[in-house]
Structures are given as structure tokens and as C-alpha cells.
Symmetry: C3
Subunit: 343 residues, 3 copies
């Protein structure tokens, strides 16, 4: 009896089945400290208990992207071990803060399947939910990946492609219970700009860059118990390079965006995202943002800002696609998210 | 008066003396988080408080190898600063879990001495015990190292070689108080295989590999307050390479063995081990295991599995020694241990 | 409206103004664990709750240099983003221990300004104070930096140069409340030498060296939320190297000084310091110390030792300056501090 997990292939998925991902994880302040070591993260709500308390929370929760990475990492052995490409995200919502001491686990429902015309691969759509120790959902998102078939002669499943709206509307966002920005201290937070200071269409160059190292991205990826071979093993790819986990680029870009978006405190919605080009050690990650939308919320003093966050490894800020409509070769990430910001 | 520690030489040891190693260390969840960042560790009992509670423990203890590395690290300034080689381990037993908040210290009794025929070095045998803040032993093991003489003309001590059985018998293993695997959740743990699914003699290729970096092994080794120069200082070895701490290879291989041995939850016995060849940054560590023995225990649902764990930097899985009986050059580690697994 | 922070230039400072630095930070044991991973830190009071308790403290505080780095890091966006050079430190005092769970913030008073004769730069003197969540000061120090002018034609401010004594006297040092070394355990601490064993003028070569890596210094610097571009971005300096944060060298040298100064437990005063030459990845940091002064304190069994700590990347130990009076090219750091040691 084979003991090791060789991962699922395209024909192993059935629409409607639920995958219960392994290895729950208790997270505490150690993970927070590591996040601050791995990324230049400075958003005040995730840095200071007192700042969180003055914003109506009992204390500072763990960063929204820590929750994302842990929930995501657990899905890798069941969803993306034989993936050719991570194609997209949609309908991501943070549903409750993750507190130090919480234990997270993940499960995914298969919501779509579409074999590719070459007959060798197919697209698998899953809706992944992260749950805490009270079985309360803390995060959900849809992801679709291209997965190899084990047997090219296996019959194609019925095609089911879920209807995925391009973005969440602001009223779909879940605001953490008690959040209140009416006493917001802009000096402690680091910048004076409130939601009304941002214009739809405004673009912000976040200026700073970080040159990334092999040791850093491997440690970050391991921290989320993400086991995909291409991140760790120089024998896994033909050219001997280790591909940097796309989530490492997301966290780096989000942290760099503090410079200009210090008050976009909490990510609460993930509308979509593309890992446009591979990132490798030695690349210098830079970031720019564009304001896509703004909205009020029911929470006192709390607004929502919809942002495009683009990570690059060079090139002109604000350049995104070439004349052919394809991402420029220096673009690493094109992310569309909602964050909460004082009105 | 010289203020710095130049380490002990062979003639500085006396059979029967006890070395009280310096610098006690309080460990908490931060060390756990770091362990998860440094190694692809996923065993559920050390990852989730809830999983540990469903196994009869009050919450999740710190990984068995964290305890080993911390206890070991403290012995370096007194035992292996002038060591030529770390020759072996025997009779290692984990005696009590290490809980977040515990403070660990180490002491070693010199149990054997044997001068080598060249008159320049000798073998020192110590039994090291790790103790917590209640002076309860949490770990004990025998280690023997080859140590330089300060003065080659110093007289040879009487030869004392301790009688070290090749392995612990299963009834010598100490099971953590309360441990109960009768409600074990194999889905959350990550694999379906219980003790009865493993055959004595069965070999498992753990498939995955991790290419290691200088920054990682130095951070890991420092974390255990291990101060041996060869790990940190490019001037310490003639070829300018930094030798990777053997314990780093142990932890990496053990973590990789999750893939195929996810239910070998807790290491409770160390029968023996050899660091077969040096490991250097840039090497890709892989691992395979062989089932040596199986046993029941007195704890409900809890069995014990004796495993050979071999780490390599390449070569064929399951290859160990050449025709000359020596370890093959790609073999890094040959470890013999007992772990607890659901029956 | 520009959203990003381009930093302050020389003409933006006014003597007497107070800068309230952004992003308070709650620190816990995770930061301690990271400090032990990044540096070979072994001082017992900062390693063991029990050792701290036997020294009269409720438990082990966070390392003195963790407090320094966090307080310092917060000042970078307001003080040194456009700095040409960090010129010196003076009058640094640790005023209260930092406990796990404390939240730190920083503020700086501008206490001096002096435009340079070239008209392009000027020297800014600030007194920085770190405060905890009770608004109690935990640390204060004076730092002066050379800052670029935005507009070379901006008028020079009135020259104000603060009077900065070359060193704190022993009676200016603040001893943590309750500290008592009368039951000090020299074996657990790692060395037998008490204050009376050290002679003024005595020099100690700390023997060990650590070759530093890019990943390590970037992680350390990020951990303190220090955002200076030169540490992270290979495009920030003409030669493509990343300059290692001077504080990384301070912590590395201080940790190496354990070997010979294991009982210099707590830093309580910073008399002065110079970052003599840049440190780059690949350098091997070594350290030596010289005893400058000794004093008694009011606390039972507690003495104070004033030390010069020199970090080098090679060269002869105890060599500091050339015949021209300038620091030798291998000298990285020349630090003058007070530490507490058992009498």
C-alpha cells in the first residue's frame, strides 16, 4: 500500500464533493512576530493592541493575510500538488478576525470542472472555507487551478463553470464586530489620508522596493505549511530555480503599500487576482495601487476602499499590459481587493 | 585571568563528574512558530491545541525535536567545542512533554572515556539530561564525541566504555501522561495509515526535497543557542564552508517524513544515529524511512513504531552503504528512533 | 495630493518641535524567540524566567536591544529617510524593562540643528523617547544625523548644538526595580567572573565570528519596522549592495561578547557609538571589548561596568585606529555602554 500522497489529478474531482484538508493549526503571537520579520508590515491595527482597542476590538487580531496563507496552505496537498497553474481568485471574504490562540482548518467544495480541449489538463474550481476552533468560518474564497490528468484517456466530466461575479459589492463585505474608526488616531497610524482624500482612478506609486532572497520566501512558505515542491526543491523545475509562492508576492506588495495606504487597515474582500509572471530570488519587488471604488459601511467611521494592487519587478510604475493586452514581463501580481479605511 | 571559554579538552573530563550546562531557556509558542518556519513540520499533535486535546493532552506540547535541540545546544560549550567528530547517540528517551512556558536546562554526566591509540584525541561519553523548571527530567540521551587533547603528553585515563544497548525496548518508552489515540482523526492528521498498515521491513520514499540555505541553518542553530564555530564562521574550516548542524538535517528529514508517516506523531525514543556525511548549503535534503519494529503500549489506542530515517542529498532512495560497508557519499543521516502512532 | 512619505529634509526641522512617530507595536515572546534566532544571544536574564525571578524580577523582560531597535525603527520615516549618515549617539538610558505584552511607541524632540558649510546638508540632533502603553518612558537617547536639504537655497536655521556629555555617570543609570544579584548563580549564567574580576583597561577578545547573510539582516531590520531603503533595495545604492543596518552589527557584537562577558547582563546606558565602516553580507563579524570604568549601584549585589565594544570584520583584535587617527577599514562599530553585573 503506497503511503505517500501523490496528489489528486483532474479526474479525481467531482462537483459537489467536499475536501477536508489536513493539519489544523493553532496560531499565536509568534506567527505575528514572524509576519513582521518577513514583510515590512506596519498597519497599526495589526501592530498594536492599544490601537486595535481604540478601534473597538478587544485586542489586535492576526493579519488578514496570515489567515489567508494558512487557510490556503492547507489546500495545497489536495488541490494544487499536480497543478500546472493557479488561474484565479474570486469572491474572497474575511468573515471574522483570527485571534491569537485560534486554531484554523480548511475545507474546500468542488464547484466547477472543465476539461481543456487538449485532453491533458482541466480546470478545477473550489470554494475554500477557513474555520476556527468554534467551527465558525473566518475566510472563504473561490480559486481555480489547472490540474493535470493522470490518464489522458479518462473521460471528460460534465463541464460546470460557476458564475463568479467580477467583484464583491460593498454590502457583501463583513465588518469585524465592534469596529469603530470614530476615534482613529491618524498620527499613530502613520498617514493623514482618510477615505475622502482618495479619488476613484487615483494611482499611487509606493516607492519602496525589496530584493528577495531564497531563504526568506522558503521560510515564509513553510510557515503556512504549504508543501508545493516548486518553492523548495531546485530539482523540481527544469531550470533549477525555485518559484516564489505567489502569496509571498501578495504579502510583500501589500506591506509596501503602507507608504500611501497606511490607513487601508484591514483587507475584507478579495475580488480577483492574477500571478502575472513568476517571481524568483534576486528580484526586487515594487508596488503601485489604483483606487477602483469607495463605499460607506454600517460601522461607525468605517469606509471601504476597493484597490488594484500591482506588484512588479521593475519597469514604469502604472504600466500593466502591453499593446497585445498581455501583462508586461515585469508585472508579478495584479490583485483586486477591498480594505477598510476611516471615512 | 582569561575571561573566554576555550572549551574542555579530553584530559579535562573525569568519569563520574557532572557538568552543569549554562543558560536556562524559557520556551513558548514563539519557538513553535519558528520551528514551523524552519522545517516543513506538519504533525498534527504539535500543530493544533484541539488535536492534542482530542488525544488526551491539555494542549499541544512543543515538538519533541525542539526539546532535543535546546537540551543539546546547551551542552556544546562544555562537551563539543573542541570535538573532532560527533560519533553517536544511544538510549535517548523523551520523559515528559515540554509545554509552552517551561524553562529548560541541561546537565551531563561523564560515563566513559577512551583515549585513541594516536594519543592526540579521545572519546568522551556523556549522558545528558534536560530538566524543566520543576527539576523534572524531560529528555535524556547518551552521546559520544571525539575530543582533542590539549597536551598530547597528558596521561591517558583509565578506559571506561559504557555498555550501550543497540536499541531501547518498547517497554522502556515513556508515554506522555493521558495520551489516548482512541478518538484519533485520521483526516485531520493527514493520512489514513495506522500502525497495523505498516509492515516490518517496509520502506517509504518521502518524495519531497528541500534545498537548504546558509541563512536558514544558521538561524536554526542559533535558535538552540548552539555556539559551535563551524556552523557560523567561514574562517573556521579550511575550505571556507559552513558545516550544517547535524540536528538541522534531523529536523528537516523528520519533517519531510510526514509524507508517508503523518501519523508517527511523537518521537519518544532515540536508539542511535550517525551523521554519515557533512551537509552544506545548496544541498537538497531528501529522506526515506524503513520500518524496523512495531509494538503496543499501555496507553489506549497508542502503538509504537521503530523507524530508520535516512536523509540524503541525492542518489537512489533506499541506498545506504557501498560494497565496502561505508555510507554512500550522498547519505547525510542514519537515524534509528521510536515514535508513537495510532494502533 | 501626494500620498507617500518622502521624508523630512533639513529645512523641515525646528528646534523644540516634537515628532510623534507612527505605528505603535505590541511585543511578546515571539520577538524574544526571533532575537535568539537572529543573534547568538545567551545572557541568562533575558533567556530564563526563573533566572530573572532569582534576580528579583517578576519574569524575564525583553532584551534591552529589542527595546532599542523597536524605538529606533519608528524614528526612521521621520528622522533618517533622507539621512546621509548616522553620526552618533549619546545619553542613552534604559528607564524601565520592556515586558512581553507591552506596546511601544516613540517620539523625538529636535534639540539641535547645524547647517554644514557646503549648504547642501545639515546636522539634526534629536532626543528620542520610547514609551510603553502606560505612557512611561522605557528608553531615551540622543542621536544626530546628517540630513540633505530639499532646497539648497533654503536659509540656514540658527545653529543650536546641544551640550552632550561624553558619558553618563554611574549615578545617572536607572536600575530595574527589584533587581538583586545577591543570589546570582554563576554556573547557570555561564561564567564565573564578577565585577571585581575585571580591571579597568582590560581587553577581551570574544573569539567567535559570524558570517552574515542578506536574508538575515533584512529580516532583522524589518522586524524593527525600520524602512530605510538602503537595507532592502539593491537599486538604492550605486554599487547594488545592501547596507546592513548598524543596529544589526550592535546586536551581533553584543551577543558575541557573551564569551567573556556573560555576566554583563543588562545594558542600561549608551554613552556613545560610531558605525565606523559599512557592513555587507558576506562579512564575518567579530568583537572585542575593553573595560572603561566600574561602579557600584544602590541595588543589592549589582554593579555597573562601562565597556567599549568594538565589532570588526577581521584584522587584529584590539586594533582600532590607524596612525591618521581614523578607524581602521575593518572596524565596523565602536560602542561605549554601561551594563549591570554582579559585584
Amino acid at each position: 500500500m503506497a503511503k505517500t500522497n501523490s496528489g489528486r489529478f483532474f479526474e479525481d474531482y467531482t462537483v459537489g464533493e467536499t475536501l477536508h484538508h489536513a493539519v489544523p493549526r493553532t496560531v499565536k503571537m509568534g506567527e505575528r512576530a514572524l509576519y513582521h520579520m518577513l514583510y515590512p508590515a506596519r498597519h497599526a491595527l495589526y501592530s498594536s493592541d492599544q490601537f486595535a482597542q481604540s478601534s473597538g476590538l478587544p485586542f489586535s487580531p492576526l493579519d488578514d493575510l496570515i489567515a489567508f496563507h494558512i487557510v490556503f496552505g492547507k489546500t495545497v496537498p489536495d488541490v494544487s500538488l499536480n497543478a500546472v497553474a493557479n488561474l484565479g481568485y474570486a469572491q474572497g471574504r474575511w468573515l471574522a478576525p483570527v485571534w491569537p490562540g485560534d486554531t484554523l482548518r480548511s475545507q474546500s467544495e468542488v464547484i466547477g470542472l472543465k476539461q481543456n480541449s487538449n485532453g491533458k489538463t482541466g480546470v478545477v474550481y473550489v470554494r475554500t472555507t477557513g474555520l476556527n476552533q468554534h467551527d465558525e468560518p473566518v475566510l472563504e474564497y473561490v480559486r481555480w487551478v489547472m490540474v493535470r490528468k493522470r490518464d489522458v484517456d479518462a473521460p471528460a466530466p460534465e463541464t460546470v463553470v460557476p458564475d463568479l461575479p467580477k467583484a464583491l459589492s460593498a454590502d457583501q463585505l463583513v465588518i469585524p464586530k465592534g469596529l469603530d474608526f470614530t476615534n482613529y488616531d491618524f498620527t499613530l497610524a502613520g498617514e493623514a489620508h482618510r477615505l475622502s482624500d482618495y479619488e476613484i482612478g487615483e494611482q499611487i506609486d509606493h516607492v519602496d522596493g525589496v530584493t528577495v532572497e531564497e531563504a526568506e520566501h522558503m521560510m515564509a512558505t513553510r510557515l503556512w505549511q504549504n508543501t508545493a515542491k516548486v518553492h523548495f526543491d531546485t530539482a523540481a523545475r527544469p531550470d533549477g530555480t525555485r518559484l516564489i509562492y505567489g502569496g509571498h508576492v501578495i504579502s510583500m506588495a501589500r506591506a509596501l503599500s503602507f507608504n500611501g495606504l497606511a490607513n487601508a487597515q484591514m483587507i475584507v474582500g478579495l475580488n480577483g487576482g492574477a500571478h502575472a509572471n513568476p517571481c524568483l530570488a534576486g528580484d526586487t519587488i515594487r508596488a503601485w495601487s489604483e483606487v477602483i471604488d469607495k463605499a460607506e459601511t454600517d460601522a461607525p467611521g468605517v469606509g471601504a476602499i476597493r484597490l488594484r494592487l500591482v506588484a512588479t519587478k521593475g519597469g514604469d510604475p502604472f504600466a500593466l499590459r502591453g499593446e497585445d493586452g498581455k501583462y508586461l514581463p515585469d508585472v508579478l501580481l495584479d490583485l483586486d481587493y477591498w480594505a477598510l479605511m476611516p471615512l
